[in-house]
């Protein structure tokens, strides 16, 4: 029996997983998916900012469009810190395509026009 906290959403359900990967304590189905993933290959969404030029704001926020393997977080941060974007930027703009070949894009999460 393993106990873990589902971090898929802020509700933070306390999950119990037995040897046969049966999950209990989840409020919604995503808790089950989380528990199985977390015990086999843990992933996280990384959020950060990148440099922005031509704007009164020197940074714009970004995220990994999908979760990436947990052990790649710092490698992905290194890539994010190499990028500079030019104003204007819009939600969904791609800052890095297929970062480190993980099959996930880094996308902008804010509109900045000035």
């Amino acid at each position: 029996m393993k106990e873990l906290v589902c971090i898929t959403c802020p509700r933070g359900c306390r999950l119990k997983v037995d040897e046969k990967m049966n999950v209990t304590g989840n409020f919604c189905p995503r808790g089950k998916i989380y528990a199985v993933n977390e015990l086999t290959h843990p992933v996280r969404v990384v959020t950060s900012t990148v440099k922005l030029t031509g704007s009164i704001y020197p940074r714009v926020s970004v995220k990994t469009k999908d979760p990436i393997p947990k052990d790649k977080i710092f490698n992905v941060m290194d890539e994010i810190n190499k990028v500079t974007l030019k104003c204007p930027v819009h939600i969904g703009d791609i800052a890095i395509k297929n970062v480190l070949g993980l099959g996930v894009d880094i996308v902008v999460t804010k509109n900045i026009n000035k």
Binding site: L4, V5, C6, I7, T8, C9, P10, R11, G12, R14, R44, V45, V46, T47, S48, T49, K51, Y57, P58, R59, S61, K63, K70, I73, F74, M77, I91, T109, K110, N111
Partner: protein, 419 residues
């Protein structure tokens, strides 16, 4: 262009203000103005670049800026008037509003007002932090603003006091940007942040959490932070001698609570509760008829989804008020937070009320296997079993209009361990 008269003026263009204005427009209120002091809408969410927002509001997991853009897009689509870079300096009891910006000073008459000015962070003075007051002691939200909006890292070796969510989020953010976060000290024997933040902000990065610990000294004799000392506390929050641990650090982040930003309301003569938010009835109307309040200026919410839900509800009451369904002479039942309950909202319920009312409250301490009990003075009216409640999560319980009719003296709310 700011006009002289409005049906509804919304003070503060954060999530609460925008959600309230959007719903008000959908309900048919025409003349609406949102007044925002920053040069952008969205309030604090602009700097909350992490994700986890919007699961109930939009059924999607969004970052703070994405969440607030969904709202500001609707404000624009619905052609709701808003002014930026404009600060409300006073609210008068007759709902006259003074506002000022670079172009000038405005006197605005509002038929109704929604105050959604958010909250601010408790600082070193507010918690009587011992020791020196050097540079390098900053609130977590300030560090978040510097880093996420302006791109400045506040320090390289950081200690965090308080396990509130903003502190936990910043522990991860600073670590990702190359700072060393030495630890988080929490006065309570439990964390005040959401479980998920303990896991993905601390445990993921092996950042230690010291429960029942506080900062007992700050070393910054020459105006620059050199280090701090933390000590363990007993059950009365008294420092236990001999438990000191010293850390060399250049930054101490404070994540020790939020306080409603309510001076406008206070100066207007609105009665405030102990937690500094307005005292409101079941329609979220303050002691001044036609002045309503929602969001973090009313009570601190854990999740923005709860903020927007509250504010949308309040828009319905504003519409009723403007349609003349006011009840200023109503008699009220007081709502009393009793054993184990920190606060309850609304603070009073009209005897004329004919609706179901959702009560929002927080427990004082984590408690398992408990009953939430609603009493009319001493006689029990309703009892609800809950497996677990914790202070960092707001609880909502709805009483039907039928149930509410049974209360004659007051509405007392308490929690009790199930025996």
């Amino acid at each position: 262009m700011i006009k002289k008269n409005y049906d509804l003026v919304v003070i503060g263009g954060g999530s609460a203000g925008m959600a309230g204005a959007i719903e008000a427009r959908k309900l048919g209120i025409q003349d609406i103005l949102i007044i925002e002091k920053n040069d952008y809408l969205g309030g604090i969410l602009n700097q909350c670049v992490h994700n986890g927002f919007g699961l109930t509001e939009f059924k999607e997991e969004l970052t703070g800026p994405e969440f607030m853009t969904r709202l500001s897009d609707q404000v624009k689509e619905l052609k709701i008037d808003y002014v930026l870079n404009t600060t409300v300096t006073s609210l008068l009891p007759d709902k006259t509003i003074y506002a000022s910006n670079q172009e000038g000073f405005y006197i605005i008459k509002a038929k109704s007002v929604l105050v959604t000015t958010g909250c601010y962070e408790r600082n070193a003075g507010a918690i009587m932090l011992p020791g020196d007051r050097p540079s390098g002691v900053v609130t977590a939200g300030t560090a978040q603003l510097y880093l996420n909006i302006y791109g400045y890292l506040v320090g390289k070796r950081v200690f965090i006091l308080g396990s509130g969510d903003i502190g936990l989020i910043m522990a991860r953010r600073l670590t990702l940007e190359g700072a060393k976060v030495l630890g988080v000290a929490e006065l309570c024997p439990y964390s005040n942040g959401l479980n998920r933040n303990i896991v993905q902000c601390l445990e993921d990065f092996h950042i230690p959490l010291y429960l029942s610990h506080t900062v007992s000294d700050v070393d910054g004799y020459d105006g620059i932070l050199h280090g701090i000392t933390i000590s363990q506390v007993d059950e009365h929050n008294q420092i236990i001698p001999g438990t000191e641990k010293k850390y060399e650090c250049d930054t101490l982040l404070l994540s020790v609570g939020l306080i409603p930003n309510s001076p406008l309301l206070r100066d207007a003569g609105v009665k405030l509760s102990r937690n500094k938010g307005a005292i409101v009835n079941e329609r979220y109307e303050t002691s001044i008829p036609g002045v309503f309040s929602a969001g973090n200026v009313l009570h601190v919410h854990d999740l923005v989804d709860l903020v927007t839900k509250e504010s949308r509800l309040v828009a319905h009451f504003i519409k009723e008020y403007l349609d003349g369904k006011e009840s200023a002479q109503d008699k009220y039942l007081d709502v009393i937070a009793s054993d184990g309950v920190g606060y309850v909202l609304p603070h009073k319920v009209s005897l004329n009320n004919t609706h179901d009312v959702t009560f929002k409250f927080r427990v004082r301490k984590p408690i398992k296997d408990l009953n939430v009990i609603f009493l009319d003075k001493d006689s029990e009216i309703k009892k609800i079993f809950k497996p677990v409640l914790i202070p960092s999560e707001m609880t909502e319980i709805t009483l039907t209009s039928e149930e509410l009719k049974k209360f004659k003296n007051n509405i007392t709310v308490k929690v009790e361990k199930k025996i």
